[in-house]
């Protein structure tokens, strides 16, 4: 697939942290503010904010303004990019080509 490698690096690096994965999991159930996101954690609100900045820089979340609230939202299309990168199409193609390799070996054996 032609995807932005740098963006993928940022996304996977961002997801390589258990707190940030928990934040993504929470946001998959709906938008939330920093205060709401910080609630279940034993770490400071400032630390949560830093994690959110990493997720935002990776394009995995966005933040909007709603009066005094600044809720965070999951960016579903960024997650779709990750899953398409996992890429069943490639796996299926490669399996098929390896089967062709195997059939070619028998054909070449017959041609000798």
């Amino acid at each position: 697939m032609s995807v932005d490698e740098a963006a993928l690096d940022r996304a996977f690096t961002a997801l390589g942290d258990p707190v940030r994965r928990a934040l993504i999991a929470r946001l998959s159930r709906g938008e939330a503010t920093v205060n709401e996101l910080a609630e279940p954690f034993q770490i400071t609100k400032q630390a949560i904010s830093r994690h959110l900045q990493v997720l935002e820089a990776a394009g995995l979340i966005t933040r909007s303004r709603d009066g005094q609230r600044r809720p965070c939202h999951l960016n579903p299309s960024a997650l779709e990019d990750l899953t398409s990168w996992i890429d069943d199409y490639r796996l299926a193609s490669e399996r098929r080509f390896r089967r062709i390799d195997a059939v070619l070996e028998t054909v070449k054996e017959q041609d000798r």
Partner: protein, 160 residues
């Protein structure tokens, strides 16, 4: 036997997919494996499914149709027509999954002789970007659910 890399290009926002792959064989050998029905039956389709070749008549105007039968009894049928057939060189054909009738794509396969073997260039043009994305996303066989399941696993340890 080394495994050659598969190069897949599916630019965002286009209805195109191109796939390039080298094989350790002559163009004639690869062409034969891809056009002889007995040989085609040995590699076409997922390994965990039975394949039935209804017809596979590789000549200009010839038709093909094959069915994948899953272990759960579900059948997936595909059909099309060979438009251009130049032995060991070029095949142009249509492709349609009968589960999405009318969504016909145009496929070409070019056999390029290289110093060490043959390079296969496959190009597909789908009727729409959406059809292309659906086909690529489904992996033709397992569906996006697989990918979503894996993402869910990736995220699962974050839910506490």
């Amino acid at each position: 036997m080394s495994t050659h890399p598969t190069i897949i290009t599916a630019p965002a926002g286009t209805p195109f997919v191109s796939v390039t792959r080298d094989f350790d064989a002559t163009p004639a050998q690869l062409f034969r494996v891809q056009t002889d029905p007995d040989l085609v039956a040995q590699w076409l389709g997922p390994r965990d499914m039975e394949i039935v070749l209804d017809e596979y008549d590789v000549r200009p105007g010839g038709r093909y149709r094959y069915i994948h039968k899953g272990q759960d009894g579900v059948e997936y049928a595909f059909r099309g027509v060979f438009h251009t057939v130049e032995p060991d060189t070029l095949v142009i054909q249509t492709f349609e999954w009968e589960g999405a009738p009318g969504q016909v794509s145009l496929e070409s396969a070019v056999y390029e002789k290289t110093e060490t073997g043959v390079r296969l260039h496959m190009n597909s043009v789908f009727p729409s970007v959406e059809a292309r994305d659906a086909m690529v996303a489904s992996g033709m066989e397992h569906g996006i659910n697989d990918a979503m399941d894996r993402l869910t696993e990736l995220l699962a340890d974050g839910k506490s």
